[in-house]
Symmetry: C2
Subunit: 372 residues, 2 copies
């Protein structure tokens, strides 16, 4: 399989931590990278210009949502997802698998695919590996994902069955793929079971994907279990391909992931927290509705360089929240996304400078400090 314009360069390692560049048809992605999520072809409450201004390069969008509304045909007709949402930089779409299992009720899984009802209007739909690829080819993201079955992390029997199916589906996704300008990533599954994870990493590696995701984590397992999976998988996946930890999003999980060889992260956390009045910092969260901030003339984080922190006080943000102004979600989203973008960017610099161990140690030492 030739992937035109797609390549991963591993530039530096320190311990398991990696710094690299993913080349895509829409430009390079410097790794480690955090991708904000634009579920419905928009990162909620933030314009593409604001994302660009704050250093975002990769945006994730959800195949399940776009397939249901406005439909992949419509987006294809309008020139594809990049043009539709006016994001000329790299985009990654997931396969819809996770959403079918988390959002839709009344789903029925068989070896062919999944039949499910829309969470919007209850209408009946079917996704198969072939349809998931077809939809993602219509959307036209730079990186697309294999269609997988997501099992609850502790259910051994379910994970065994789901893994077998996920592997068959991975083969079918590769076979269904027709576009040469998209990189299809396989997804390592297996819950918390290290032998299943090993089996999955070995099987998918054998199929020769241009990148590998680690799925089914950050869904209820302990941090120790998550780390054990990451460490195992790090030793099994090929060094010269990017590794993507799906749905992970706290500063702590991101640094722990980088320490264990992960290159890519995505999460709704920064924008979702913003809509619930929380400002993210490296050490915690500030509930900006708190009365303690009513007369606070400081920015959220004096060291942050985002638009919000350069221009607005905590008192103003609290006023916007109390007065139910939409601008609050925009300004907090910008800040929260910047917090994670700055974190991965500094982690990358530290890896390149050979001082990532110290960077991570200082990061975790700071966690003891309570946010002001």
């Amino acid at each position: 399989m030739t992937i035109a314009s797609f390549a991963f360069e591993l530039i530096a390692r320190q311990g398991r931590a990696r710094a690299g560049v993913i080349h895509t048809p829409h430009g390079p992605i410097l790794t480690p990278i955090f991708a904000p999520v634009g579920t419905q072809a928009t990162v909620k409450a933030v314009t593409p210009a604001q994302l660009e201004e704050h250093g975002v390069t990769l945006v994730l969008s959800n195949t399940y949502h776009l397939y249901l509304r406005p439909g992949a045909e419509l987006i294809a007709e309008l020139g594809g997802l990049h043009r539709f949402m006016s994001w000329p930089h790299p985009i990654l779409t997931d396969s819809g698998g996770f959403q079918v299992f988390s959002l839709s009720e009344n789903r029925r899984v068989d070896d062919e695919g999944v039949t499910f009802r829309s969470h919007i209007d209850g209408s009946l739909h079917r996704l198969t590996p072939e349809i998931a690829i077809e939809v993602q080819e219509k959307l036209g993201a730079d990186i697309i994902m294999a269609f997988d079955e997501c099992a609850p992390p502790y259910d051994r029997a379910y994970n065994e069955r789901a893994l077998e199916r996920t592997h068959r589906w991975a083969e079918r996704c590769l076979k269904a793929k027709t576009r040469s300008d998209q990189a299809l990533f396989g997804i390592v599954q297996g819950g918390i079971f290290l032998d299943l994870r090993e089996q999955s990493a070995r099987f998918l590696t054998g199929l020769g994907f241009p990148g590998y995701a680690i799925g089914g984590l950050s869904v209820g397992e302990t941090k120790a279990e998550m780390h054990a999976v990451l460490e195992l998988v790090d030793g099994l996946l090929p060094e010269d391909k990017p590794r993507y930890l799906m749905g992970v999003g706290t500063p702590q999980d991101i640094i722990n992931g980088i320490l264990r060889g992960v290159d890519m992260f995505d999460c709704v956390l920064p924008t979702r927290l913003a809509r619930h009045h929380a400002a993210m910092t490296r050490t915690g969260r500030l509930n900006m509705m708190n009365a303690a901030y009513a007369r606070d003339s400081r920015p959220i984080d004096p060291e942050c360089t985002c638009y919000t922190c350069r221009h607005f006080t905590r008192a103003y943000l609290r006023h916007l929240i109390v007065a139910r102004e939409m601008l609050a979600a925009t300004l907090l989203s910008i800040h929260n996304i910047t917090t994670l973008i700055t974190l991965v960017s500094e982690a990358r610099s530290a890896i390149l400078a050979g001082r990532f161990e110290q960077f991570a140690a200082e990061f975790f030492a700071a966690q003891e400090t309570l946010p002001s």
Copy 2:
């Protein structure tokens, strides 16, 4: 009364239409000007950076709302309204008079002032001319307004009583004013009654304000009645002071106002319509939720140069609205504000070039064309 840093320069006239510059402590305002409204110290769903980028120079904010929440003392403590909302350009605050009469229930007016209940929590408050000036001095806008009583446009007896009171209050506002870096405008009232309007314009002119507002219009009277008032007042107010038509906001009313000597306009219309899915054009409104736009690859207005029209299709905007995404309000607000800013800016160029009559004639001729 000396107004430091405030001055109006009348640069050109064509018929009654005027082009000028209002100099303020926060920079010049080129007139005719349209000011978007930031009721609660934010133009809803739009950042100050986005306003700047789209040519906004003057923003209006509401004294009534800010007095109730978060309070003028808090804003003063945080450095005043410009710093609080991060708008380093000119700001105008109204006096709270109009809101007391339109938003608050259970109000009681006496010659001293108005006692009313908050629309937020029902708490009891009192505004007098002296308090309205004190609050506006704490907020620190460049242009502040006299406290007035707003009467229904067709009630002669009420207008006579209210006008008498408004004139006494105007004198008290002038007397209460202490800051030399704010320009206090008087407000001509009198409903649709031309003799009352004349009486008001003459009385206020005698007090020597640095600018004059025309209040109590666009509240239910006919266009012919509005125009008659504007034409009368144009002949009575001093040529060398700016005239401000409060709360006016459609492209048609703005051009009609400029034709009758008005220099300044403000209105919530562009941002309110945006939150109700309507895109403004010079000739009408497009309901962007309309199914007709589902596959429409055109921008709202191919001739508009705003961020929204440069980057997004009608189909995308409709998708955002249908999917209830906040970005829809932001993108439509940016477009609608730009429509009015571009309109007044082109009107100014036309006046300076001596071709405003033609500009206005073409503008009204185009109204016959249905929007596509």
